[in-house]
Symmetry: C2
């Protein structure tokens, strides 16, 4: 499946609005300081899927489509997302993201910290323009939760005994929560009922969880040329994700368990050692059971969605679930 082609087809009905969101983002991110603009243009130039904007707009289409306000919300959440990525790359000491150099790699940690902060400030302005207290609180709660999720991830790095429950908690707060906020925000702005708002929140949360699980699977199954980073990258960084958790479930306290434990405790790794574990996780139950979990989350997303009457827009949100499951990068 060609990822870009699929999304283009899926998003054909909102293409013009997606472009307006991009343009507005650039306008609202502008500063009087050249260095801030350069860093910002670089951050914006990185290819993204615009999934969050699509979620916001499509959720907004299920009721009264109010593009003017959805535009502000979309830019706000894309900007929030970018701010968290920029700060994440400092926290993770990453030098590339999807094959491109990160802001910290090009401009240094200091500018990266301040660019993220600047985006948070600008986001608050966008949110204020929407003039809906429910959106104000959605924004604040979401950013706070994402911070907590990032810290939880950091604190649990290198922990071979990480439970599935903690993995899920981390995934919901760090990744899925913002996607849930997008669909919930779209629902709020479009005048959905409280019940519909909660359903679209659940849809976004389960879709986002499936998205992250697939991401974590791809980290084991794909190579550098496809996803812009070498397979086993999470493992190299000491990140214990769902495929590894499942693989370890069946591992006796010797053999692979010991091997992984040693790997997680080391700063540098031999490629052969990483490859051996990657293969074990990929061939055994690790990837298989994770894929089942992703499908279970997808089913829950669909279940929430099917409370809405069938419509072409609901179909797109439905196909988006398949896209998340099937994507290869």
């Amino acid at each position: 499946m060609n990822t870009t082609a699929t999304l283009s087809r899926l998003f054909a009905g909102i293409q013009a609005d997606l472009d307006t969101v991009d343009k507005t983002f650039q306008e609202r991110a502008t500063s009087g300081l050249t260095i801030l603009n350069s860093a910002s243009m670089h951050a914006l130039g990185a290819p993204g899927k615009r999934l969050r904007t699509a979620l916001t707009l499509l959720a907004g289409k299920l009721n009264t489509y109010r593009f003017e306000k959805l535009l502000l919300l979309s830019v706000a959440f894309e900007m929030t997302h970018l701010a968290t990525l920029i700060h994440d790359d400092i926290v993770d000491e990453s030098s590339t993201r999807r094959g491109n150099p990160t802001v910290n790699a090009l401009f240094g940690d200091k500018i990266a910290i301040l660019l993220g902060d600047y985006y948070f400030a600008k986001t608050a302005g966008l949110i204020a323009d929407i003039e809906d207290p429910r959106i104000d609180h959605l924004f604040s709660d979401t950013v706070a939760t994402v911070c907590e999720g990032t810290i939880l991830e950091m604190m649990t790095a290198g922990n071979i005994d990480l439970s599935k429950e903690t993995y899920y908690e981390k995934t919901r707060s760090k990744t899925a929560c913002l996607m849930a906020a997008c669909s919930k925000g779209g629902a709020i702005i479009s005048g959905a009922t409280p019940e519909e708002i909660e359903l679209l929140y659940a849809y976004g949360m389960h879709l986002g969880t499936a998205f992250q699980i697939i991401d974590d699977i791809l980290d084991y199954t794909q190579d550098q040329s496809t996803i812009g980073k070498p397979a086993g990258n999470d493992l190299r960084q000491g990140m214990v994700t769902l495929p590894l958790i499942y693989a370890l479930q069946d591992a006796p306290q010797n053999g692979h368990y010991q091997q992984v434990k040693t790997l997680l405790g080391e700063k540098t790794h031999k490629d052969e050692e990483i490859s051996e574990i990657v293969e074990w996780v990929t061939q055994g139950n690790g990837v298989k059971l994770s894929l089942l979990d992703a499908h279970a989350q997808a089913n829950k997303a669909r279940e929430a969605l099917y409370h809405f009457p069938a419509s072409p827009d609901r179909d797109v949100l439905d196909e988006l679930i398949d896209f998340v499951l099937m994507r290869k990068k």
Copy 2:
């Protein structure tokens, strides 16, 4: 002058409300994550002057005092201030602030980045609770300006030819702008007229500028035991501030000018070299002319304030100007 005793006397009328602000800050900064709470409690434990809260409350007293909303605004701006300090300490690679270890020194840069972000998120929630679009925008604009000011400071570090104008621009955006936002926000919430709001904004801006100039003077004139850092610390860090700018005005292109130029280009410094420049700035025109500038800013703050009818609360704001000028740490 004993700084703490003076402030206690000045703030006697709002002491109970200041305490409530402290308490509410702690409540609102709480997270479910232990590490975040520990870092937060450490950051909160550092002694501060609570100047920003006092400004907010006292400005609010000049019209209808609405403590419930002023409380939210005070906590929000103290939290914003703390978030910027925490991120600043990473940017400046500082290990102590007022004699205490910084969050980055104790918990590492990563936790410090995320604690700052978490505070921004929480602040957005507090601002939302005030339910006044003018405050929403004041908050967003202020944080964006503070970020720009911090970047401007960073970009101009080590530049011996820094102009007075750029120094003032940096000082207004990095420091004074938040103090101006406090007094302006207090005015907005208390139902001040647009003209009064602008006057209190000007008051805060000039007070904040004087405050920073005095800070920069104290960096040359005070020793470690009084302000918790060695004299000439700014110089060591390559920061060109007003006293140095004035001192350099009269310096020929040899002698001290060359000495400073060499110092600014070096990473490590000999104590004697720093001491020599510190003494030259302190004894010569550097400190003298800066002090005149601080007084000029103070006069402008007073001019704005005197548009309000005399009252005990105006008197406190008036005495606050003297406090800022006379403080020794």
